[in-house]
């Protein structure tokens, strides 16, 4: 069974039809990249997966999105629990105006965990997992804003991973970072895939090729092509995909 199954999804912002008949399945512990020109609906689809678009008024969704076979848009669904299961990392690093430690501990605390020892243990574990521990272990009490942009983004990844999600959504997680920080994030993605299913939106073709198992190409709200990354980048079925990948438009 697929980890995530998107079936005939249509989505509207007011009258604007942002996603048209999108269907795709994502296997457990796969890394899937969404690519496509700006405004084609990548972020929209990504944000449907943890119901982040619920916050935007006057939107409408048809179709089904299943997580482990369960419809996450069902009336019974507990959205806060869903978001704990489906973590998210944003385009710009957005740490809270709190200490490094409190940032990572935040998700645990809001989920009702009080045990100080457990929290401290989990914070260290996830910071190690995000390859940030050695850089911050002496200044856990310092403000997260004192970190560099790349460090902040890895902190945000650690923060998302602290609540042990089974899916991690990443919306252009490295687009605001320098090449070295980007390389570290990509390295991290390759590590994290052992634990979680990752969906990543990226504008960087090489990045998609480097980190993902499968790639979905979107254009004007439609999913044009979806398949193994290797095939999409070497031998795409559709001409539009070919053009986009080789930089002939977009």
């Amino acid at each position: 069974m697929e980890k995530i199954l998107i079936r005939d999804v249509n989505f509207w912002y007011g009258d604007f039809h942002a996603l048209k008949n999108v269907s795709l399945g994502i296997e457990e512990r796969e890394v899937v990249a969404f690519i496509g020109p700006s405004g084609c609906g990548k972020s929209t689809l990504l944000r449907l997966l943890n119901r982040m678009n619920d916050l935007i008024p006057a939107t409408r969704l048809t179709g089904e999105i299943l997580l482990d076979g369960r419809d996450i848009y069902d009336r019974q669904e507990d959205v806060d629990r869903l978001r704990k299961e489906v973590g998210m990392v944003f385009q710009r690093p957005n740490p809270f105006p709190k200490s490094i430690f409190d940032n990572v501990a935040y998700g645990l605390r809001v989920n009702g965990i009080r045990d100080k020892e457990f929290i401290a243990h989990r914070v260290e574990e996830t910071l190690r997992g995000a390859a940030l521990w050695d850089e911050v272990k002496d200044k856990l009490k310092a403000s997260a804003f004192a970190l560099s942009g790349g460090q902040q983004q890895r902190l945000c990844i650690a923060r998302a991973m602290a609540v042990a999600p089974s899916v991690l959504l990443m919306d252009e997680p490295a687009s605001a970072l320098d090449p070295i920080s980007t390389a570290k994030i990509e390295e991290l993605i390759r590590e994290l895939r052992r634990e979680v299913t990752i969906v990543i939106v990226t504008h960087n073709m090489q990045q998609a090729a480097r980190v993902s198992d499968r790639t979905a190409f979107f254009y004007m709200g439609e999913m044009v092509e979806y398949g193994l990354t290797k095939l999409i980048f070497t031998d795409p079925l559709k001409e539009a995909t070919q053009n986009y990948i080789t930089g002939r438009f977009g």
Partner: protein, 395 residues
């Protein structure tokens, strides 16, 4: 050509900025010079003396003691460091009680001599009379006159600027009155202010917000007399009934009216600050499975705390300096309050109520300016304090 124009504009701005700054400084300077004049005043009304019997060892009395003596609250010389014996206060008006009209003469021409003799005769007397009146050869002693001291003003527990022979300028009751009223006003306004701000910024729909915000800003524009009037006809009788008070005019009434007045400011500024909390912060919190409430009190409020604090400062600023509404509902008793349910009096209310009856240049007049300076420093201290707190929480 263009360069010249730019230079001209720049110099106009420089000059006008400079002028404005100078004018403001002059105003502050005026305030200080008038207020400082109080310290040059003497404790006994100008032109008058306090005469005592030669045998009386007491030569020094504080203004408070003088007032107590003439109010007959102090009756024995032993209480002010003299030999035990009754104090006999004497005012010029009392002359009729001691002497017949014939003795005094049709134009009181004999009064000076008679009073001098009375003082010579009466060991316990203290007479408040014009210095000119007493014959220079009289065998009498005087209470030493001196300038009003710093501690009599800043530690003085009685405000009685119209008392004779010795006015009292103790500002402690007024300062405590101001602080009490302001403190309770903020105590009431803070939770409601934050509550409404959270509702408007986080819970209300965009339409409700667009509707309510102008209404709240409108409340800011209502003149304070109107609030005072509302307090007088609604809150004062209500408090009187609820707490069974002899009079409803009280510090509490003042605090409630001020809280209502400070609310719009607090709400407007705090709501703005919360609304400006970036979407990325909220989304980060929600994406971790936090509920809306957890997001509000763990992320939005801490993020906007400096904005909230400045809203509260502006609110306090209004409360501390507010005059009219407070004047109308606090009962204006210049005593140190022991409970918020008692009448009390604030600094601005005192200035407003007394400036009209204080002759320009006199001690009373100068004391009101001094009150203005004190108010200035209280507001300054509050502003600096909250500034420090909010900059600390920001870093």
């Amino acid at each position: 050509m263009k360069k010249l124009l730019e230079k001209l504009v720049a110099s106009i701005f420089t000059v006008s900025g400079l002028l404005t700054s100078i004018v403001i400084l002059l105003i502050v300077g005026f305030l200080f010079s008038e207020g400082a004049g109080l310290f040059r005043n003497r404790i006994i009304d100008p032109g008058y003396v306090l005469a005592v019997n030669k045998s009386n060892p007491v030569r020094e009395l504080s203004p408070e003691q003088i007032k107590a003596i003439f109010d007959s609250d102090l009756v024995d010389w032993a209480e002010v460091g003299g030999d035990s014996g009754p104090i006999v206060p004497f005012r010029l008006e009392d002359a009729d009680r001691y002497f017949s009209e014939a003795q005094l003469g049709p134009n009181y021409e004999h009064a000076g001599r008679l009073i001098a003799e009375l003082i010579e005769r009466t060991p316990g007397i203290v007479a408040f009379v014009p210095g000119q009146m007493l014959p220079p050869d009289a065998e009498i002693a005087f209470i030493e006159d001196r300038t009003i001291s710093f501690s009599e003003i800043f530690a003085g527990k009685e405000w009685f600027p119209t008392a004779t022979p010795s006015p009292l300028f103790g500002i402690v009751p007024l300062v405590t009155g101001t602080l009490w009223v302001s403190f309770f006003a903020i105590l009431f306004a803070f939770p409601f202010g934050i509550g409404v701000s959270v509702y408007l910024s986080e819970i209300a729909s965009e339409r409700t917000r667009q509707l309510l915000r102008p209404v709240i800003e409108l409340l800011n524009g209502i003149p304070s007399v109107v609030y005072g009037f509302f307090g007088l006809v609604v809150i004062v009788p209500l408090l009187q009934r609820v707490f069974g008070l002899p009079v409803g005019e009280s510090g509490l009434a003042g605090s409630i009216v001020l809280a209502i007045m400070a609310l719009p400011t607090i709400i407007a500024v705090a709501e703005d600050a919360m609304h400006n909390c970036p979407r990325a912060m909220r989304e980060a919190s929600l994406a971790l499975g936090a509920t809306q409430w957890q997001t509000i009190y763990r992320v939005v409020i801490p993020y906007s705390i400096s904005g909230i604090a400045s809203g509260v400062v502006l609110g306090i600023g209004r409360a501390v300096g507010e005059t009219m509404a407070v004047l109308m509902v606090t009962g204006n008793a210049a005593v140190i309050p022991t409970s918020i349910l008692e009448p009390l009096r604030t600094i601005p209310a005192t200035i407003a109520a007394e400036l009209g009856e204080a002759p320009a240049g006199g001690a009373h007049y100068e004391s009101l300016f001094l009150l203005g300076i004190v108010l200035f420093f209280i507001t300054l201290a509050i502003n600096l304090g909250v500034e420090a707190i909010s900059s600390k929480s920001r870093s």
